[in-house]
Symmetry: C2
Subunit: 519 residues, 2 copies
């Protein structure tokens, strides 16, 4: 925690001595496993108003074929017990009944599977780490599950140009650990790092906590190899940072949630691992101040700013109550987490302290704490990163992940509170304010259709009115696709349909996902 | 220039007092106009082996219709004299005979033009600032020229979220000037800033000198509105930094050189204008040292690094001889320009000086100079940015813009020198080494087919062998498209064709560009 002696010299009177009561170094990687059991989740085909597509059903003969081409027995799973997990999504709101889980090891096997499925008209759902939050990576009916969990080789780390080439099933945390030892980091990071796969990250165009610094995956992914619905291997691999030789096809696979092809290889530009990192947690009285903190951070921290997250008091209390984590600053209406990082510990910390001092002097904030060693930094981050887990403990979660202009950003939460009243157990807002990305979590004891109707489409209409995004970073998957029209034009919808038809004429790749049946 | 007093204290003995003999503050914006005359450029239909597509020819009736919908007389140019410029590209290697130049003012007019041309089967070439270097923005035969020069309104600058919304015809330099006053910069910059349009920049996925810091346009463009070949207005506008609601269609228009649609509106995320900026120019004895300078810069300057450019001695001598600019460092085999920028002048400069000191101590470099006021910074940059202009003065330029892995990066230049011998007047290498992007300029007295044959396809085979890119940032346009196969797979080629067919079934949008007729 902040070296109070040193801060005193700079008269940073607001930095109080911290009581890290029960904040211990949390093993963050554990949190990305879904915390509850799977067996009582209602089947999607019952819960939702949805019709099965006109696909074939997998037969024993099909399964035998898969066993043949995948050679290893453990690569073809049909055991009902084992399949439950792969059929149910992380949030436990979508459950399918996929009869078989395939675990190919390489591109060639994926290509053979797809060629076969396309001929047989069998539907396929690609599955990565299964941490997606919109039900995109699990079957809705009886799709075949194609998991990338065994495609987890690092192919190359080029230390001069700073590029990584790997298979899609590499787990984010494992990649990060390996790269860190060469002083690189991936240009993105997210709370699900312990389970999510890089292939899943690309397929969802994952945002996360470093976007404010390093930008989106559309900018940092250098190459993609994808297997199309008919088994064609589309090689768009490259490790060049610049390559303008025709249409940038790899972009199509970033964020298309496995509906256009299966990503089988990835090349990505790495960022230099900053030598120094400090994190401040700040309490704010109102949302105006939160906005001021952010815009000052952009201006004053400039090149040092590497994350800017916020949470409201409701969310903080869920984290405190359900996970027994300690909030180290005075109880406030809002909390902002600011991370600064860079090549020099001294400059980076001084910049952060100067920034905080200015905020105090201009009365934008009252107090804050600064964490500057890795244990403490982890502890502060845990407060923000374990929010979803805390909400899951609160009951059934209606989860929204939206972009809104900052001028109306938090109004939607206030508005939902007055609209829903006591129907909801709790309504909290948090997220990546640095990217204009708000997460709204509404909890209730158990899945409640009436509450859902009170929220939807109201919430999407609200967002549409302000030209926000009804899915900022999680994607459309199964549960959000029908709201696409609130963020996309009809011409865009038609063009998407055209592209889907071009790359997957039979529609076998992740059906019921991403693009709604009608606008 | 470096405050020598202050540096002496830090014993930076290598920083010599500079003689800025004739280096004056160059008006960089002038250099992006093509320096020579247009009237003796051979018609593309004669120079190149190319067949006219089966399009209609514009009639007087068509011209009357255009006059009708564009209302203003000066928006429909048919005067032969005036048309010469619009028919000839910057490098003066492609010249068409487009019979009419249209200058619409808004999306609706563009849509009407395209709807009409699609019905009439008239081919159209979109034209921005006409600084493209691959003949993409001029007619090859008699295509109608659609210029964005009158679509130059800034629609919105959001100072809180840091976003710009504008029409495509805004000139880069003018945007930059306007944004600077609000302490923002565009996340890219290039030497052609005085003439190029933001729409042209997106259409070519321009790279430039800030890519090493802010990444590519695929990451920073937030929204695009494009008019398709049949006049459909495809609205993919958004100012959200995150929006995962379906396929990211705007990406298709970034780098597709006007072959899929005409960009009529742009939204882009801005970067904070750094308060401080310093530039070092360093001499290196060999290319190994250049690489070391770059990889140390990534590591040591980390968040401060905002540009890393290089040029060889041949290029420097062209700049000195033709433009009478002064090279302020000792004559060396290679020169590296490093720019550091950030929020604090002191930190930024100290970081740069520390970095240089380390390089001196480890004997990677012998000397360098540091410029830290805006006039001097401009002067140093002029050495790098006016290279193309200097080469144009040397004669006809065969220009290659390639990506290569750093381990073989400069070998290609040495190799070409021994292959071409005295056939070429000069062979020089320079470019954005921070992005693995090499420009190779080969000059001769005038266009010379034999020399061309000695270079091509040899140079592309070389690049293909090392999995580089045959067009790093300039695109394929007309003159590079036939070499696509050296950087792209056949499956990728077929998919591009499919997308072209989907969005422009008649092929009227910028024919003869980007995608070759066969693989
Ligand atoms: C605790 C927690 C925190 C999170 N934080 C963030 C966050 O900050 N930012 C964010 O953006 N998301 C976040 N998420 C959501 C989730 O982690 C991301 O969407 C992640 O990218 C999904 O990766 P995955 O490997 O788990 O993919 P899965 O859930 O398995 O699949 C996601 C989608 O991608 C498809 N897919 C997977 N692999 C492939 C492939 N190889 N080829 C083609 N399609 C494929 C699936 O079909 C599915 O549609 C969080 C989730 C949790 C549980
Ligand atoms: C001195 C100099 C330095 C340069 N430095 C760089 C550099 O560092 N990096 C770099 O990447 N390039 C560089 N270039 C190349 C050039 O400047 C870029 O390609 C630039 O982006 C072209 O913009 P423009 O407006 O001039 O487009 P144009 O040349 O007019 O057109 C380029 C292509 O885009 C299409 N197009 C233009 N506007 C639209 C639109 N609104 N909708 C659809 N299609 C459109 C055209 O049909 C054409 O195919 C340089 C050029 C010069 C002369």
């Amino acid at each position: 925690m902040a070296n109070v002696q040193a801060f005193a010299k700079r008269s940073l009177y607001y930095l109080k001595q911290l009581q890290w009561r029960c904040l211990s170094s949390t093993v963050l990687s554990h949190m990305s496993k879904s915390p509850l059991l799977f067996d009582n989740v209602e089947l999607a085909s019952n819960r939702y108003d949805i019709q099965r597509g006109n696909f074939a059903k997998a037969t024993q003969q099909d399964i035998n074929y898969f066993k043949d081409i995948l050679s290893s027995q453990s690569a073809v799973i049909t055991d009902a017990e084992e399949l439950i997990g792969s059929n149910t999504d992380w949030l436990q709101v979508v459950r399918g009944s996929g009869p078989v889980l395939l675990k190919p090891e390489n591109t060639e096997q994926v290509s053979k599977i797809m060629q076969y499925c396309n001929n047989r008209n069998l539907a396929v759902v690609p599955q990565g780490g299964k941490t997606g939050l919109v039900g995109g990576g699990v079957p809705v009916f009886d799709e075949i599950i194609l998991s990338t969990s065994r495609m987890n080789n690092v192919i190359d780390v080029d230390k001069i140009s700073g590029t990584l080439v790997c298979q899609p099933g590499c787990i984010l945390q494992e990649l990060e650990d390996r790269l860190n030892s060469d002083n690189f980091i991936l240009p993105y990071d997210l709370g699900a790092r312990g389970s999510c796969h890089i292939g899943g990250n690309l397929s969802t165009n994952a945002g996360g906590i470093r976007l404010v610094r390093y930008g989106s995956l559309h900018g940092s992914v250098l190459g993609v190899e994808a297997v199309l619905a008919d088994g064609t291997v589309l090689d768009c691999m490259s490790t060049c940072r610049k390559d303008n030789t025709g249409y940038d096809l790899k972009q199509l696979f970033i964020g298309s949630e496995g509906t256009l092809g299966i990503i089988t290889k990835v090349a990505i530009a790495l960022a230099q691992k900053p030598r120094a990192q400090c994190v401040a947690l700040i309490g704010c009285n109102n949302f105006e101040n939160v906005k001021q903190v952010f815009s000052s951070a952009r201006k004053d921290l400039c090149e040092y700013l590497s994350a800017c997250e916020f949470m409201d008091s409701k969310i903080m209390s869920l984290v405190e109550n359900h996970l027994k984590l300690t909030n180290p600053v005075q109880t406030s209406s809002f909390y902002v987490l600011i991370e600064a990082s860079g090549s020099s510990e001294q400059y980076c910390k001084t910049a952060l302290l100067d920034f905080l001092e200015t905020l105090i002097e201009s009365k934008v904030i009252k107090e804050g704490i600064v964490a500057d060693n890795s244990v403490q930094i982890k502890d502060v981050w845990a407060l923000r990163e374990r929010v979803l887990e805390a909400c899951q403990h609160d009951g059934y979660v209606f989860k929204y992940d939206v972009s809104l202009p900052l001028r109306v950003f938090y109004n939607i939460v206030d508005d939902l509170r007055s609209r829903l009243g006591s129907q909801a157990k709790s309504i909290g807002g948090y997220g990546h304010i640095g990217d204009g990305n708000l997460h709204i979590n509404i909890t209730c004891e158990e899945y409640n259709k009436q509450l859902e109707k009170a929220i939807e489409p109201y919430i999407f209409e609200w967002i549409g009115k302000y030209k926000g995004s009804v899915s900022a970073e999680h994607g459309m998957g199964f549960i959000k696709r029908k709201y696409m029209n609130y963020s996309k034009s009809e011409a865009a919808y038609n063009t998407m349909k055209g592209i889907k038809q071009l790359l997957d004429p039979k529609g076998i790749l992740n059906p019921y996902k991403t693009i709604p049946d009608q606008y």
